[in-house]
């Protein structure tokens, strides 16, 4: 049996190297896309987990502020809890390097006398045999700006111990002194590289505010259960803080990314699905070719079951080859994309940047299961079919395509029935299920390929060819229906995905542009280098604001304070903005409210006259809130309840947003120092000139001035970056589909050797035969395109109207990006043509001399 298997595999290699290669490439790309996405997904979570462990490695519990600073008076209360053995405060903020690079570093201010040696400080103790740990502690306290950074960070910026490094937090500048190089990653491999550790009092004094605490880490005594202790602490400390176990913190990050991850995972699975068709097609083709071989083996006494096992074993080897290539490929692809994903994580989700990707055993197992399982799934139907056939049938020259022709109509009917049933179910019962959109999408993606044989038949059968033109090409597809169906189905699914996403992204972008038109109305925007991540501590100082307001070319200054808070029930994170609205002629507040629900004039009036808040659409959907409800936030002194005046379209964060006046904000959240400012210029002033002048005036300060146009450009750039991974997935799927086309055509060249030889004998030139094949390739591409455009429109509708609303909470106005679609169609046709070139060339090589020996 083993020998027969080995022989069979050798045979596969010998007779169809290209065929085998295409199949393996298809499988490996499918595996690769899954591995890439899973690696990135895990990388994102691990980066967060790594940073949690690096900072709070030995802590059993962590207290986080909801505001997010913590009242320092809470520390004694934490320590008073009987279960708490020790607790220490941390001051955490993000600072920008003031060296012109704008790179951000995470400052962790810790208590050098904290009794617990967590990774950061443990390594500190061991650093440099020359220095006594006691000296280091003394230096950390005595030398102004003393900090420890990783050797990696130091090397990438060319720092040495003793160097002074200017950094900024908001509009404040401070000087850090590199006091020690500490390899935190030795203890926590996934610790962020851009971390700087310093004394908590110094961090507060230099970069934040006195007493600013963001986190309290706790070590419990003895055998107290962390859950119980957390609950008790939460009760004692009040709603201004959240007491979390490390697991809960990880879950938080996972929950934050759930929608993002799920979407990418679903997309990568489409690639696997497409890859499955390739396996199916190639196993099928090899079995058709080898049916006599199996017939002979059966005559020689092989059992049907053995034939089945033999075929599955061959497919398994194919799958493993795909896995062996796919896993490293996927990891590579993850590495190529890590930067853009990381940028999305930091700019949109305000999480850690992914500093390192590792290929985890879990991902390897998933990749192997997908590749091997996919190959076996693809092989099982043809294998069963083959093993069930009788010896006589195997040895007689039957055409396997007959069966496909007979089942084409029933399959199409089944597909239509399934899709209709799916749609009806969705309409009737889908509302209650978060995953309903995905399930309907799945049913559509299963139904589409089932339609293919029927569609090919319907397209080709009624036409009578009158020459070697496209009609004959189309007719030829119907002859070997199985092979052409696989290729067209793979293409149709891929194009559906590509078109669906292009429609989604195009619509989303257009919606965003329209939204920016309404909301981004000031002429110049002022923020700081560290603001992107460090909103909380990055303030603009009062002198600067006065100076800006005093400029003759400035008509009005609008300031904004932004803070991340949670709802009082702890279920939703909200970016809350307090805005000091200014009355600018022609740019009323009402005209700037992109309201989803509510009358702009009335909402603006309420916002300005009384305590009220406008919430963003994602928050409204996720928390089930609307005008008339109260938004209850966790404030520093307990729940803050604000009446909701209106719901506005909002595309800044899927986590949820809300805004109110700076005054209301300050009353409840203690601080009204702004993070950003927007300048409305006098009529006639040139924003670019003003920006240039401001940059000149404030050279050397960590301020960022952007004109209206620049800000929009940057917002759209971030948007595009978010979809960069999707582009990679689309490209990979197109690659697989192109492999499928090439595969189908190579199979055709082989199966139709007799026919081609006849054409040659009747006087058709090589070029004519090649053209006929290219025509068939284009006919397949055309059918795939027609089906794919239909499927893509359906998928887009699902993505835009259902999945995005359900998972991200966004209303996206459907829009057809004609240019992008045309480009995509051109790329697809180009890929189809490219895929057809080799088979077409190969088809021209067939020799008319064969005819005297073979039958057709």
């Amino acid at each position: 049996m083993i020998r027969v298997l080995g022989h069979g595999l050798l045979g596969l290699v010998r007779e169809g190297r290209t065929l085998l290669l295409l199949t393996v490439v298809g499988v490996s790309l499918g595996v690769g896309s899954v591995v890439a996405i899973q690696t990135l997904n895990q990388g994102a979570l691990q980066a967060f987990g790594g940073s949690v462990r690096a900072v709070s490695g030995q802590a059993d519990l962590t207290v986080l502020g909801t505001v997010p600073t913590i009242d320092p008076a809470l520390l004694p209360r934490v320590l008073a809890d009987p279960a708490v053995r020790d607790a220490w405060p941390l001051c955490r903020l993000d600072a920008a390097l003031a060296d012109g690079s704008g790179d951000l570093i995470q400052i962790v201010g810790f208590d050098v006398f904290a009794p617990v040696r967590y990774p950061l400080t443990r390594q500190l103790d061991e650093t440099g045999s020359a220095a006594d740990p006691g000296d280091l502690v003394a230096a950390a306290m005595a030398v102004p700006g003393w900090c420890a950074v990783t050797p990696h960070l130091a090397a990438s910026h060319g720092w040495a111990v003793g160097d002074t490094v200017p950094v900024s937090s908001g509009s404040r500048l401070a000087r850090l002194v590199i006091g020690a190089l500490v390899d935190f990653q030795r203890y926590e491999p996934l610790a962020p590289v851009n971390i700087a550790v310093m004394d908590v009092a110094q961090a507060q004094a230099l970069l934040a505010r006195p007493d600013a605490i963001h986190q309290i880490d706790i070590v419990l005594a003895g055998d107290e259960d962390p859950g119980t202790a957390a609950a008790r602490l939460q009760r004692n400390l009040g709603p201004g803080v959240r007491v979390l176990t490390p697991e809960q913190r990880a879950e938080d990050a996972a929950g934050l990314l759930a929608a993002f991850r799920l979407n990418l995972t679903a997309l990568s699975l489409i690639s696997v699905f497409v890859g499955l068709f390739l396996v199916l097609a190639s196993v099928q083709a090899s079995l058709v070719r080898r049916r006599r071989e199996f017939g002979v083996l059966r005559v020689l006494g092989m059992q049907p079951r053995q034939v089945l096992v033999l075929i599955l074993a061959e497919a398994g080897v194919l799958g493993l080859l795909g896995v062996a290539i796919g896993i490293p490929t996927g990891f590579r692809i993850a590495l190529w994309n890590v930067e853009t994903v990381s940028a999305t994580l930091t700019s949109i989700y305000v999480l850690e940047e992914i500093s390192r990707l590792v290929l985890t055993p879990t991902v390897i197992i998933i990749g192997t299961a997908v590749g091997l399982g996919g190959a076996l799934c693809g092989a099982v139907l043809p294998a069963l079919d083959m093993s069930r056939r009788g010896v006589v049938e195997l040895l007689s020259p039957l055409t396997m395509h007959e069966g496909a022709r007979r089942t084409a109509v029933p399959l199409a009917l089944l597909a239509v029935a399934a899709m209709t049933a799916g749609l009806l179910w969705f309409v009737a019962a889908g509302g209650g299920n978060r995953y309903a959109g995905f399930i309907l999408g799945f049913v559509m993606l299963i139904g589409l390929p089932l339609l293919v044989p029927g569609v090919i038949r319907a397209a080709g059968a009624p036409l009578r060819p009158r020459g070697l033109g496209w009609v004959l090409s189309l007719r030829n597809l119907t002859i070997r229906l199985r092979t052409s169906s696989f290729a067209v189905a793979a293409l149709a699914v891929t194009i559906s995905m590509m078109v669906g996403i292009t429609l989604l992204v195009g619509s989303f972008r257009q919606t965003l542009v329209t939204w920016l038109d309404v909301t981004i109305r000031a002429d110049v925007y002022v923020s700081t280098e560290s603001w992107i991540r460090a909103g909380n501590e990055a303030f603009l100082d009062a002198e600067l604001l006065t100076a800006l307001g005093g400029r003759p070319d400035v008509q009005a200054v609008e300031t904004q304070r932004r803070l991340r808070v949670s709802t009082a029930d702890g279920r939703h994170r909200v970016w809350l903005s307090g805005i000091a609205f200014s009355a600018v002629p022609g740019v009323t507040l009402a005209s700037r409210l992109p309201l989803y629900a509510g009358d702009p004039e009335a909402v603006a009036g309420r916002l300005l006259a009384s305590e009220a808040v406008v919430i963003g659409e994602p928050l409204a959907r996720k928390a089930g809130l609307g005008p008339g409800d109260d938004l209850v936030l966790a404030g520093p002194d307990g729940p803050v309840s604000l009446p909701i005046a209106g719901v506005a379209f909002d595309y800044t964060s899927e986590a949820g947003t809300a805004f109110t006046t700076l005054e209301t904000f300050g009353r409840h959240f203690r601080s009204d120092q702004p993070n950003n400012a927007a300048l409305f210029l006098q009529p006639g002033a040139d924003p670019d000139a003003v920006v240039a002048e401001l940059q000149r005036t404030h050279r050397g300060r960590p301020l960022v001035f952007r004109s209206n146009a620049t800000l929009r450009r940057e917002v759209l750039a971030i948007f595009d970056q978010t979809f960069a991974v999707t582009r990679t997935l689309q490209t990979m799927a197109l690659f697989i589909a192109a492999c499928g086309l090439a595969l189908a055509q190579l199979i055709q060249v082989r199966e139709r050797a007799g026919e081609l030889a006849l054409f040659r004998a009747l006087g058709a030139t090589r070029a004519q035969i090649s053209r006929m094949f290219l025509g068939e390739g284009l006919a397949m591409a055309g059918l795939g395109l027609a089906l794919g455009l239909g499927g893509g429109a359906g998928l887009a509708a699902l993505l835009i109207l259902v999945i995005n609303r359900e998972w991200f909470g966004w209303t996206i106005r459907p829009d057809v990006p004609l240019g992008a679609l045309a480009l995509e169609v051109a790329v697809i046709l180009g890929a189809a043509l490219a895929a057809g070139i080799y088979p077409a060339w190969k088809s021209g090589l067939s020799s008319p001399a064969q005819l005297s020996r073979d039958d057709l």
């Binding site: 060819p465 030829n476 054409f759 009747l762 030139t765 070029a767 020799s847 005819l851 057709l856």
Partner: protein, 234 residues
């Protein structure tokens, strides 16, 4: 097509195939042959004697290792592969033992195939197809799929296809080889009759001496050489 030149001339044609052992295998060795329009010539010989090989050379499907092949006085040797292919399309018709009809095309379409390859417009082509099918008695079957035809009927369709482009040379490789005797007779009659009517030269490869006997001349291939009128039953 009926110029001063013979339809087919083989001039000291030799064909040597490289064998697996590294040595060479001589299949044809200085074969001379001349065949005029309207003539019919039968080629007999043992299996493996090189009959099909000779036919391939005459059709321009293969090129001889030595000697010349001329169709209507044109030397195939100087031609490109494409030129030979076009010449085959325009001047040569081939009938195979196994008919080689395309199962997914109907009777008329199979006959029209060389016209399609030629890129000929529909009207004249359809008329010619109808005419030929009428002559072989299949006019009423022209829309039928070829799969439903009997062997004899299939060969008649194949014959029409071979004659579609009005060739000057008709090559038939055991055209009755897969038919029973009676059907074979009928096909042979048709073949001779149609070749005569179309004024083309016919080269007929066969195992059967009774078939060969219907030709004007009989040649036997033996050890790579042609012998006229063997007269001995094989």
């Amino acid at each position: 097509m009926n110029g001063p030149f013979p339809s087919l001339v083989l001039d000291r044609v030799g064909m040597v195939f490289p064998a697996a052992s590294g040595s060479a295998r001589t299949v044809l060795d200085g074969v001379d042959l001349s065949l005029h329009a309207g003539q019919c010539l039968a080629l007999v010989g043992r299996s493996g004697s090189g009959k099909t090989t000779l036919l391939h050379l005459a059709a321009g499907i293969a090129v001889p290792t030595s000697g010349r092949v001329l169709i209507d006085g044109e030397d195939l040797g100087g031609m490109t592969e494409n030129a030979r292919t076009r010449l085959r399309r325009d001047r040569i018709g081939i009938v195979f033992q196994f008919f080689h009809l395309l199962p997914h095309l109907n009777v008329a379409e199979n006959v029209a195939l060389p016209g399609w390859i030629d890129g000929r417009p529909g009207g004249g082509l359809e008329k010619r197809v109808g005419e030929l099918l009428d002559r072989v008695g299949l006019a009423d079957r022209s829309r039928d799929p070829v799969g439903r035809l009997s062997g004899g009927e299939m060969q008649r369709v194949a014959l029409c296809r071979a004659l579609l482009n009005k060739p000057s040379l008709l090559l038939a490789d055991e055209p009755t080889g897969s038919l029973d005797d009676r059907t074979g007779q009928v096909i042979l009659d048709l073949l001779l009759e149609m070749a005569e009517a179309e004024r083309c030269a016919l080269l007929l490869v066969t195992h059967s001496l009774t078939v060969a006997a219907r030709a004007e001349r009989i040649f036997e291939l033996h050890d790579g050489r042609l012998r006229q009128d063997p007269g001995v039953p094989s």
